[in-house]
């Protein structure tokens, strides 16, 4: 088991700086998820931890030991790839045992470890098959099995579920969660999928353009996003941003309004918001509730689009100042386009950002 710590880590491919100084502390046994838009450097960072890319600058410690120049096999890590990377000409058993074969582990011990891994992943019946006879989910299970057998201190996953269909993805997600509880190893997991990030992570690291935007527990990030990027990145549908005027600031509370928004007091949470300046009000769609009459509530506009999902209704509202917001109501409602609507929200669930909070 091991802590992983990155200090001032940088990576350049030639002249292109891809990772621009990253500091992350990962506790022993923690499940950490890296999220961020495509091309932000998640995979690169993970591959640097694995030792597949060398580190241009900064230090990487695993288990208290600087491993910048240590070979991948000696870092105590195992990696699971998006494309499985299982060997097509070997049986499942041979694939799972691969690391042990390489090390020259005696047969009996090998069989025992493979059996143990197969038991954990419930794939004993697959051991004699070839990869071509497996489904995507089963292949990924084999890849995870190969990782388990190495008994690593740190598991690295690079989008392990993104080649699977939705239903299978959920099963495997739950299984990876269980695996983490069972093994108690440190796990670092890269994904695009918010649900995976929110459900699996002890800690989420949001990356953008090779920099850490925010790191913290899922709920921390969800409820207290550090900046506009994190606020907009987490949550689906994503947070509404409404440009507002600041009428007054008093004692950590700002009175904000615009043509479509009745004046309302929102906490500034220490951000640089001054009387007379423009600010950005963030409200998640789920916290917008329709008021009884269009005149009530704080936001006023007309319904432009409705999506009924059964348990939820997602409504796009064109506000009176010309901007749009999305609201998600936790019930099935019929709202014809053009209907006048008022939306209310609890100001304690709203976030106020200064213009400078755009990263």
């Amino acid at each position: 088991m091991a802590r992983v710590s990155l200090k001032g880590v940088r990576k350049s491919f030639g002249t292109a700086d891809v990772i621009k100084g990253v500091d992350i502390e990962i506790e022993d046994g923690e499940f950490v998820v890296f999220v961020g838009p495509s091309g932000c450097g998640k995979s690169t960072l993970l591959r640097m931890i694995a030792g597949l890319e060398d580190i241009t600058d900064g230090t990487l410690e695993i288990g208290g030991r600087v491993v910048n120049d240590v070979a991948p096999k000696d870092r105590g890590i195992a990696m699971v790839f998006q494309t499985y990377a299982i060997f097509p000409h070997m049986t499942v058993r041979e694939n799972v045992a691969f690391g042990l074969t390489i090390k020259g582990v005696p047969k009996a011990e090998k069989a025992e470890k493979v059996a143990a891994a197969a038991r954990i992943l419930q794939m004993e019946h697959l051991l004699d098959r070839r990869p071509s006879q497996l489904s995507g989910g089963q292949r990924q299970r084999v890849a995870i099995g190969r990782a388990i057998v190495r008994d690593p201190a740190v598991f690295l996953f690079d989008e392990p579920l993104s080649n699977l269909d939705a239903a299978l993805r959920m099963d495997m997600r739950l299984e990876i969660g269980k695996l983490h509880q069972q093994l108690g190893a440190t796990m670092i997991y890269v994904t695009h999928d918010q649900v995976e990030a929110m459900t699996l992570a002890d800690k989420i690291v949001v990356l953008k353009d090779g920099k850490v935007m925010q790191a913290g527990s899922p709920m921390d990030l969800y409820h207290h996003p550090a900046n506009l990027f994190v606020a907009g990145f987490l949550g689906a549908p994503s947070m509404n941003f409404i440009s507002v005027d600041t009428r007054s600031v008093d004692n950590g509370l700002a009175m904000v309004a615009n043509a479509a928004l009745d004046p309302i007091e929102v906490a500034t949470t220490g951000r640089d918001i001054r009387t007379g300046s423009r600010a950005i009000l963030g409200v998640r769609p789920q916290y917008l509730v329709p008021s009884a009459t269009p005149a009530e509530g704080m936001l006023h506009g007309k319904v432009t689009l409705t999506e009924r999902l059964g348990a939820e209704t997602v409504v796009e509202v064109g506000l009176n100042d010309g901007s749009r917001v999305i609201a998600a109501f936790g019930e099935d409602r019929i709202l014809a386009p053009g209907t006048e609507i008022g939306l209310a929200f609890d100001p304690r669930q709203a976030h106020l950002f200064a213009e400078g909070d755009r990263p």
Partner: protein, 356 residues
Amino acid sequence: MASRLTTSNRAGWGFAIPGFALIAIFIVLPFFFAFGLSLTDQRLVSPNPTRYVGLDNYRELLDVTVITLEPQRDEAGELIRDEDGNLEYPKVRDITRSDDYPQYSGMREWFRWQSGQNAKVVIASDVVFMKALVNTLVFVMVVAPVQAGLALVLALLINQRIRGINIFRTIYFMPVVVSIVVVSLLWRFIYSGNDGLLNNLLDALTFGAWQPIDWLGNPSTALGSIMAMSIWQAVGFHMVIWLSGLQTISPTLYEAATIEGASGWQTFRYVTWPGLRNTAVLILIVITMQAFAVFAQINVMTSGGPLDSTQTLVFQAVVRGYGKQDISGGATISVILFLLVLSISLLQRWLTRDRR
């Protein structure tokens, strides 16, 4: 049943027919023609009418037997020895020309070995053909594995991401683009006995201790020299095929192996080689077929000599068919070569089949 292929596909057939026709006229038809000729006594130009001779041509080429010669004795029953103390045997010619042994008539000695006091002599009705057959088989058995192996090594070296690697790719591929006839001519100078490049080089390397060899004029080095040149000439072609095979292997597999700590050899054994399986089968079969067809090098460099040490089947087929106007003999050799290559290819396919 009228399929869509024959009815509504006029344009398609229009495009295909010239190709089909060329293949039919220049490959399929001549093949059947050769097979037909091999059953006759047809000559290139001859006033006599052609006769059907059945399998006589094949018998003529393939007849081989072993005869046992007992050492000669004098009246007292004592073994006769020559001045060096060697046993004396009756002349093979006396047997093959004797009316007592009509079955051996016209055959000649190919080679012999000693078995106790007796000599075992292998006689063949066509010794030159037999030598050509053996030379061709030796050529294939040496060239195919060495060329394939060397090409693989080059491909592995060249598959690395190093600055300027394309220069090496070009250099290794260059001999392939040059005509084999030109290459053979050049190598005649390299192999030349008086002042050839190779002899000079060896002379320089051994500080003058080297005794020049006439590489192509010496029966014990001629075939080897031609094999070395042939390997050099076509290795680049097979290197490119290997290279294309190497590049189909997913880089993630190599990364997975790296993480597991596989050494260079282990990576080759568990990742690269299994990934090259299909390429290997292809290369093996292609090289085998090319090697069986060896002709131009022989024609330019040695014409089968010295002492028939570089005769090959295709060369013999050409020499007989056109040089000696024995077109049916040439056709027979072609058919034998065809059957040989076909059966070896099928055997290779079977040996390398997917056992899953």
